[in-house]
C-alpha cells in the first residue's frame, strides 16, 4: 500500500483535478454542505479516498463525521436539498459520476456500485415479498422473464445462506429475523454482480453472534467476486478483523489513512490514538479508560485551524491557526496532524 492519495486541502470551488488513473472508484476532494434554516453545515470538507478491486477500505468515524454522507454522495442518493455537493469528483473507472446524466448514473447503481444499509427493516419494502424485490432487478435490468428471474433470486438467497431459500422467496420482510433480513439485503445488493460494494454499518443493529456470521459472509462473497468494498463503521473491533486499509474521518475530513496493521500499532493522529485508547477491551480488565475530552465540533461552526484542536492533548498554538493538510508520513501512510512525525517516531 505505497500509493495513498495525498490531497492538499484545496480551496472550495476549484474542482477536482480530474486526472485519470487506473482506480476502480475514487472520491476526489469532495465537499458537501447541508443548507438548513439554521445555517450551513459543512458536512464534508475535502475527502479523498479510493478503493481497488478485491480490497476492503474501512471508513471509520463517529456520528456526524461525514462517513455516511460520503457514501450517499457516491451512490447519488444524497437528499438535495438540504445537501449540496460544492466541489470534487466521484470517479468510477475514471469517469466522473457527479457530472454524468442521471440515466448513466442509474446504470452504474446496482451493476457498478451497490450499497447495503444499517437498518434492513427500513431498507426493504414491507409490502413486497423479499423474493420479488430481488427478482425485480433481473426482470428490469437483465430483461429476464418471471420464471427465470425467480430462479435467479432463489439462487441469490441460497448464496447468502438463507435456509430453505425456495420457501423463503415468498416471505415478507417482517417474517425474517434481523440477521436474515441483513442477508436478504446483501443478496439484493449483489444480484447484479457489482464491482464495488458499500456497506454502511452492516452489523451495527445485530447481536455479536449474528454479526460474526454476517461479516464472514461478506468477506467470503467479496473474495469470490473480487469486489472492492467500502466498509463504513464506528466499530474498531470489526475493522481490525476485515479491513485492508483504514481511513479515519473527523468533522468531514480524513485525518488519517493507513494500512490496518500500522494504524493499530502506531496511530499517526491524536484522534485515532484517543479512539483506540478509549475502547474497553475484552481481553483486558482495565482500570480507568482514557477518554477524549469534550465533544465533536458543531459542523456549522468548525473551529479554525485543526478541527480537532479543542479536544487534542497535544495542541499547540499552530494548531489553532493552521489547518494541517493530509500529508504522507513515512512511506505508506498519511496523517492530517502538524505533529504526525513526532507521533509515529515516538517509542
Amino acid at each position: 500500500m505505497s500509493d495513498i492519495l495525498v490531497s492538499e486541502q484545496s480551496a472550495p470551488g476549484t474542482g477536482g483535478s480530474g486526472r485519470p488513473s487506473g482506480r476502480l472508484l475514487e472520491v476526489d476532494d469532495l465537499r458537501v454542505e447541508f443548507r438548513t434554516r439554521d445555517g450551513v453545515a459543512k458536512v464534508i470538507n475535502g475527502v479523498t479516498y479510493h478503493v481497488d478491486a478485491g480490497e476492503t477500505l474501512a471508513v471509520l468515524g463517529e456520528s456526524g463525521s461525514g462517513k455516511s454522507v460520503t457514501a450517499q454522495t457516491i451512490m447519488g442518493i444524497l437528499d438535495t436539498p438540504p445537501g449540496f455537493v460544492t466541489n470534487g469528483q466521484v470517479r468510477f473507472h475514471g469517469k466522473d459520476m457527479l457530472t454524468m446524466s442521471s440515466e448513466e448514473r442509474r446504470r452504474i447503481r446496482g451493476e457498478g456500485i451497490a450499497m447495503i444499509f444499517q437498518d434492513a427493516l427500513s431498507a426493504l419494502n414491507p409490502v413486497f415479498t423479499v423474493g420479488f424485490q430481488i427478482a425485480e432487478q433481473f426482470r428490469i435490468r437483465r430483461g429476464m422473464g418471471r420464471a427465470e428471474s425467480k430462479k435467479r433470486a432463489i439462487e441469490m438467497l441460497d448464496q447468502v445462506k438463507i435456509p430453505n431459500a425456495k420457501g423463503r422467496f415468498s416471505n415478507y420482510p417482517h417474517q425474517f429475523s434481523g440477521g436474515m433480513r441483513q442477508r436478504a439485503m446483501i443478496a439484493m445488493s449483489l444480484a447484479l454482480d457489482p464491482e464495488v460494494l458499500i456497506a454502511d454499518e452492516p452489523t451495527t443493529a445485530l447481536d455479536v453472534t449474528v454479526q460474526a456470521q454476517i461479516m464472514d459472509l461478506l468477506a467470503e462473497l467479496q473474495r469470490e467476486r473480487q469486489m472492492g468494498m467500502i466498509l463504513i463503521t464506528h466499530d474498531l473491533g470489526v475493522v481490525a478483523d476485515v479491513a485492508d486499509r483504514i481511513a479515519v474521518m473527523y468533522a468531514g475530513r480524513i485525518v488519517e489513512e493507513a494500512d490496518v496493521y500500522d494504524l493499530y500499532a502506531k496511530p499517526a493522529h491524536p484522534y485515532t490514538l484517543g479512539l483506540i485508547d478509549s475502547i474497553p477491551r475484552l481481553d483486558e480488565k482495565g482500570q480507568q479508560l482514557r477518554t477524549i475530552k469534550g465533544l465533536p465540533p458543531n459542523l456549522m461552526n468548525i473551529p479554525p485551524g485543526c478541527p480537532f484542536n479543542p479536544r487534542c492533548p497535544m495542541a499547540q498554538p499552530v494548531c489553532r491557526e493552521k489547518l494541517p493538510p493530509l500529508l504522507q508520513v513515512g512511506t505508506a501512510r498519511a496523517s492530517a496532524c502538524h505533529f504526525a512525525e513526532e507521533l509515529v517516531n515516538r517509542v
Partner: protein
C-alpha cells in the same frame, strides 16, 4: 446470604399472547424471564449480558417493580419488592433507581433540566426541602460533569452523552443504594462512551453504589463488572466473577458469545478461533425443551432435550453453569499485561 442487598429468587415474567379483538383469548405466553435467581452484593457491579430478546431488559423492569413478576420474589433488605404497593413501594423506590438506554426518549422534551432533576424531590420532599431544591440540582449537575449554569436548558440543547449524564444525575438525585443501568452506553459514540463509563465508576466509588449493569457489549461489561451473569432465552446460563466468566467460561453459549466479539487488534486476526453458531435465537413463546441452547449447540446430546440443566457448580466448573457438559475452554487470549 446476609451480605446480599438484593436477593432474586426464581423470578418469572410471562407476557400473554392474545388473539382476537372482542373475544380476546390467550394463545400462548412469551417467557421473557423464566426462572432467574441471583444476589446483588452491596457495593458491587453485577453485569448482565445476553443478546436481544434474552430477557435482560424485562429483568430490569421487574427489579424496579415497573412490571409485577408472574412468580418469584425480589427481596431488598428483607422486603419483597414485588408484593409492595402504594406508600411502601414509593418509599422503597428511593433506594433503587434506573438509568435508561435511550437518552433521546427518556427525558421529557418540554421540561428544563432543572425541572427534570427537581421532579424526584417533589415525589420525595423529605430528601430536600423546597427552598434548597435549586441548589441540589446544581450540585447534581456538577457531580455528573455538566455545567450548573445550564439548569434552564431543554434536553434538545444537549448532546447524547450529556443527556445520558442528565439521566444518571436523575437516578442519583435521591441518593439510592442500587442503580439498575439498562444499556446506558450503547447509544453513545466510542469517545463519549468511555467518558460515561468512567463517570459511573467514579460515582460508585464516591457513594458506595451497587449497580446492576445490563448490556449486550461484552467488553463494556467486563470493564465495569465484578461479577457477570450470562442470559439466554430468559434464563441465566452461567454466573461468576468477571475472571471466571471471561477467563474460564464453561457454558458453550458463553464461549460462543466471547469468541464472536471482535478484538480491536489486527494482529490477532488469525490467532483466534470463532465458534460459529448457526441459526437464530428460538422464539421465547415456545422455547426448546430441556436446555434452551441445545438447538444451536455443538455439544448437544439426547439428555439435553430431556433434562433442564440446573445452574449449579459442576465438577468441571468452579462457578455455577447450566450445562450438562460444562467444560473449561480458553477463549479470550489473555493479553500481556501492559
Amino acid at each position: 446470604m446476609s451480605e446480599n442487598i438484593i436477593e432474586v429468587r426464581d423470578l418469572v415474567k410471562h407476557y400473554p399472547v392474545t388473539q382476537g379483538v372482542v373475544f380476546k383469548k390467550t394463545v400462548g405466553q412469551v417467557k421473557a424471564v423464566d426462572g432467574v435467581s441471583f444476589g446483588l452484593r452491596a457495593g458491587e457491579t453485577l453485569g448482565v449480558v445476553g443478546e436481544s430478546g434474552c430477557g435482560k431488559s424485562t429483568l430490569a423492569r421487574v427489579l424496579m417493580n415497573l412490571e409485577r413478576p408472574t412468580a418469584g420474589s425480589v427481596v431488598y433488605k428483607g422486603q419483597d419488592i414485588s408484593k409492595l404497593s402504594g406508600g411502601a413501594l414509593r418509599r422503597l423506590r428511593r433506594q433503587i433507581q434506573l438509568v435508561m438506554q435511550d437518552p433521546y426518549t427518556s427525558l421529557n422534551p418540554r421540561m428544563t433540566v432543572g425541572d427534570l432533576l427537581g421532579e424526584p424531590f417533589e415525589i420525595h420532599p423529605e430528601v430536600a426541602p423546597k427552598g434548597s431544591r435549586r441548589a441540589k440540582v446544581r450540585e447534581l449537575l456538577d457531580l455528573v460533569g455538566l455545567n450548573p449554569e445550564h439548569i434552564n436548558r431543554y434536553p434538545h440543547q444537549f448532546s447524547g452523552g450529556q443527556r445520558q449524564r442528565i439521566g444518571i444525575a436523575r437516578a442519583l438525585a435521591l441518593r439510592p443504594e442500587v442503580i439498575v443501568c439498562d444499556e446506558p452506553v450503547s447509544a453513545l459514540d466510542v469517545s463519549i462512551q468511555a467518558q460515561v463509563m468512567n463517570l459511573l465508576e467514579k460515582l460508585q466509588g464516591e457513594f458506595g453504589l451497587s449497580y446492576v449493569f445490563i448490556a449486550h457489549d461484552l467488553s463494556v461489561v467486563r470493564h465495569l463488572s465484578d461479577r457477570v451473569a450470562v442470559m439466554y432465552l430468559g434464563k441465566i446460563v452461567e454466573i461468576g466473577t468477571e475472571d471466571e466468566i471471561y477467563e474460564r467460561p464453561t457454558h458453550p453459549y458463553t464461549q460462543a458469545l466471547l469468541s464472536a466479539v471482535p478484538v480491536p487488534d489486527p494482529t490477532q486476526r488469525h490467532n483466534k478461533t470463532i465458534i460459529r453458531l448457526t441459526g437464530d435465537v428460538p422464539s421465547p413463546i415456545s422455547p426448546p425443551s430441556g436446555c434452551r441452547f441445545r438447538t444451536r449447540c455443538w455439544k448437544a446430546q439426547d439428555v439435553c432435550a430431556e433434562q433442564v440443566p440446573l445452574l449449579e457448580i459442576r465438577p468441571s466448573s468452579d462457578h455455577p453453569s447450566a450445562c450438562h457438559f460444562a467444560e473449561k475452554r480458553e477463549i479470550v487470549a489473555s493479553h500481556e499485561a501492559a
